[in-house]
Symmetry: C2
Subunit: 529 residues, 2 copies
């Protein structure tokens, strides 16, 4: 049943023991849903930045079809002490795809659990399983005539649950996915099934309506963690607005970033602009239009003058602000005037905007996300540098001040250049913080580029920490390193996280190493260089 060649074993598990576990799982989920050997290719890190990441290899993958099957799988894993690495669908390639942090883990892939269990038009929410993607949910809403929008992340094929649990974000007024999550069903390591918040009330009416419930609220504890397997999740959906405006403002000076952030923040705070507006760097905007070789083919990062020439030629700003206004036309118009007045103070800023009826599709490409339409255009970045395009993302949280944004930008741009990488990035605007996202793009067939991308990320994390900034997320290969930057009181947060981990998962079977959290059984595996 297994593919030929050397079989990877879970660490500390003998071959016969693993055979027993596999046999048990086959009887639970059916042998066609226990993958081994060559069938594990989708469970390798597709971009694998550096040699270490290439070593994150699973021993098998399981595709359960139900909560009951998951509970049965857990019984076997607990008995045989086999670590499981849970993914909803594992489609975020920039952070490791579906590959496990601990080599030899068995991937628990929930993609077959893909039902949309409920959609409520009045109260504007959905209840979904882990295998539901943003495309799936969007299409379902359209097909069934629900007047609701999804908030798509950069890549629409991602799992709604997976993206939310990793605290992904999108582009509409519901851009903060963790904040619009409401109610979870979670299977704990011991097989116990918990419904969070108001889900504790049986045959209740408020599981997807009120987030906290009675007593402590655990939902946020199941995000970016390894405390349980989320099998159902509620999310709030934005009622389709009667109309919307998509605006772009181009700024032509590198240092305009400071003014942009200073002008945008009060507009976000007073909700003139309610969406997760994006301040897109010129190079990222340009990369969607033409490949890099057209502008530069020398060594190292693209020089400033080449970038300037490219932006001019393409008619793209050094910074490009994308924002949206939703609502009835009279309110959109009044708010657009405020926006225009505010940004009109920046020299040479050029504005364009188009208003659409609520059910109309935008004609531009990159803005479709702001109209609640999932897309895969973000993948165009892979063509930028040529070869087998891949990327790894550096994603520090930036205070929403001009000084901080400019400081982070210059810091990242400079360090990236010294490693031979272009500044391919931008800022997505919450009200008080910005998600600063920088992608180190590399050719994954070029071993040196690949390794340097991982080294660059470590350097950026150190730079950031020294300046008082921290990442919100990390690739598998840097999970321990990123966690180690959170040093307050000698890492008190991680001590707390691991105390909770050991209480909920004493055998240490759920996703060891996830976000730097190691169960007692595997704590020796923590490591970074």
């Amino acid at each position: 049943m297994s593919a030929p060649g050397i079989r990877m074993l879970p660490p500390g598990v003998a071959s016969a023991q693993f055979e027993r576990a596999l046999a048990a799982w086959q009887s639970i989920v059916g042998s066609e849903h226990v993958l081994e050997g060559a069938a594990l290719t989708p469970y390798l890190d597709p971009f694998a930045p550096g040699p270490e990441a290439a070593g994150f290899v699973p021993s098998a993958a399981l595709q359960p079809g139900s909560v009951e099957e998951i509970r049965a799988i857990l019984r076997v894993a607990n008995e045989q002490r086999v670590p499981l690495w849970t993914v909803s669908t594992g489609r975020n390639y920039a952070y490791g795809g579906a590959a496990p942090r601990l080599t030899g883990s068995v991937v628990l892939d929930l993609q077959r659990m893909n039902r949309i269990l409920e959609v409520d038009d009045k109260l504007a929410y959905a209840l979904v399983e882990p295998g539901v993607s943003y495309f799936d949910l969007h299409n379902y809403l359209r097909e069934h005539g629900h007047p609701l929008w999804v908030d798509p992340p950069a890549a629409g094929w991602g799992s709604v649950i997976g993206n939310t649990l990793e605290r992904g974000f999108g582009y509409t007024a519901y851009g903060d996915h963790a904040a619009t999550q409401c109610g979870m069903e979670v299977v704990l390591a011991n097989g116990d099934v918990v419904r969070t918040g108001m889900g504790g009330i049986e045959i209740g009416h408020a599981w997807q309506l009120y987030q906290p419930g009675y007593g402590p609220s655990f939902d946020a504890m199941f995000m970016q963690s390894n405390y349980g397997i989320v099998t159902k999740m509620g999310l709030w959906l934005m009622p389709a607005p009667p109309a919307y405006l998509l605006g772009e403002i181009q700024f032509h000076d590198e240092r305009d970033l400071e003014a942009i952030v200073e002008i945008l923040r009060p507009l976000r705070l007073d909700e003139t602009i309610r969406n997760y507006a994006v301040i897109e760097g010129g190079l990222r905007r340009a990369a969607g239009l033409a490949p890099r070789t057209q502008w530069y083919d020398g060594p190292g990062a693209m020089p400033d003058d080449a970038v300037d020439a490219m932006l001019k030629k393409l008619g793209v700003g050094y910074w490009n602000l994308h924002y949206a206004l939703y609502g009835p036309p009279e309110l959109i118009e009044a708010r657009q005037k405020i926006v225009q007045r505010a940004f009109g103070t920046v020299p040479r800023a050029s504005m364009s905007a188009k208003t659409y009826a609520g059910d109309a599709q935008p004609t531009g490409g990159g803005d479709r996300n702001q109209a609640g339409i999932p897309a895969m255009t973000a993948f165009r970045m892979l063509d930028w540098r040529g070869g087998a395009g891949a990327h790894i993302d550096f994603s520090p949280i930036c205070p929403a001040t001009g000084v901080d944004a400019l400081r982070q930008y210059l810091m990242v741009k400079g360090r990236a250049a010294s490693y031979g990488f272009d500044y391919y990035g931008g800022f997505t605007a919450g009200a008080r913080h910005l998600h600063h996202i920088f992608a180190a793009i590399f050719d994954r067939n070029d071993a040196q580029q690949s390794e340097r991308s991982a080294d660059l990320l470590r350097a950026l994390m150190s730079d950031a920490r020294a300046a008082g900034y921290g990442e919100y997320r990390s690739h598998l290969v840097h999970m321990d390193y990123a966690a180690a930057q959170y040093t307050f009181n000698d890492g008190a947060m991680l001590r707390l996280a691991e105390t909770v981990k050991d209480a909920l998962d004493p055998a240490g079977i759920l996703s060891p190493g996830k976000q730097g959290i190691w169960p007692k059984a595997w704590r020796g595996q923590r490591g970074y260089t």
Copy 2:
């Protein structure tokens, strides 16, 4: 040093052992901050609904002045196994004040830690200690010219931290206090000090800007729980708007409630109305204007015809919607037109509204909260029934649909009447849920009334659960009973909560019984009738 009379001892603690603990605490915080005997009066339940609540009596109270003192207190408590009951200031009388759930616990009162550590105008947040009240913070902002509003709860004397941890709510666009909390410092039972979220980055810049951080987020787990002692908390503040409108709409038919909720929900969802609007029951509105004896002095609940006559005489609606619009005048005007159009469809609805400059004080009384000004007007309710006024609150979460609101209202009104209580209540509107708050008002010198209020609450909780509703909060005397309504999978949520409890507090010293969560050492104390 102790007052004369019988000393209450912590359960399972011998007198000599307790003396040792007290002596140790006196050396830590100073003997003037260790309260015993008669000095414990402020730590009794001031309203004590029923004889059981009157028995929630502390053995002592400690008033530490710093995190270091708290850590030293915890060392003693762990050694001597003395349970501590933490309160920020203990000013919510409807849920038990500063009294402990487990009789004989030592109250850990944080009111002396009352510094406002930081206020940031640009990023619109504050960092405060537990002793800071809404009045304190409001006055500080005014005195120092910060262009920021607090979001006051019903009683302005409450602790900002205490109210937020209990998931209190207010009246402005920042009405969901738990949702606007950002960053905590928590002392765990073992004395470890954790800073949540971005607080793990030392000398960092985003602790009060981005809620989750890297890895699991624990903040919501420290709300309504007994997992730690919150010593610092960040909260987001609303930038003072350039103008605001306070609107009231009176509705004259009991059954208008259904239409009100159906009309209000879409306006809340599309953010035409951004504040926590209140649908106030007529009797509650009337109680602010004249005492009950003026209208009715018979036995039992006030009859419908007496209520009708009272409302007519006072010019008060059966339901009274209070809402606010914030922003520049042109946006307020456009949104007010939408509101007027929407509610104009309800027969006999009468609307009034007044627009104020952002720095102007409203002239009406009850609306000051919606303008970010703390008040104590809610305490007027104590005069309603005469005698030594007291109340206990029933607070189920209600889906934001007309059918659910009307159903809950009629259910509560009917059950209250059968116990001899008036329907004194209303609904505060989130977007997808309503906080339904009913106050059973009684004379605390009337033993029968007092006892019946506690019985009524139990009956209401059972009614609610049978109909699929659950409470968001509860008085000490009903904490176990309220928790027991959350029965999904045989109480899986409480099993999870107590697993975490035992991991974080193995000696069971922090607030045993809080929200129905009992540590292993005291689990036998769980009980309700």
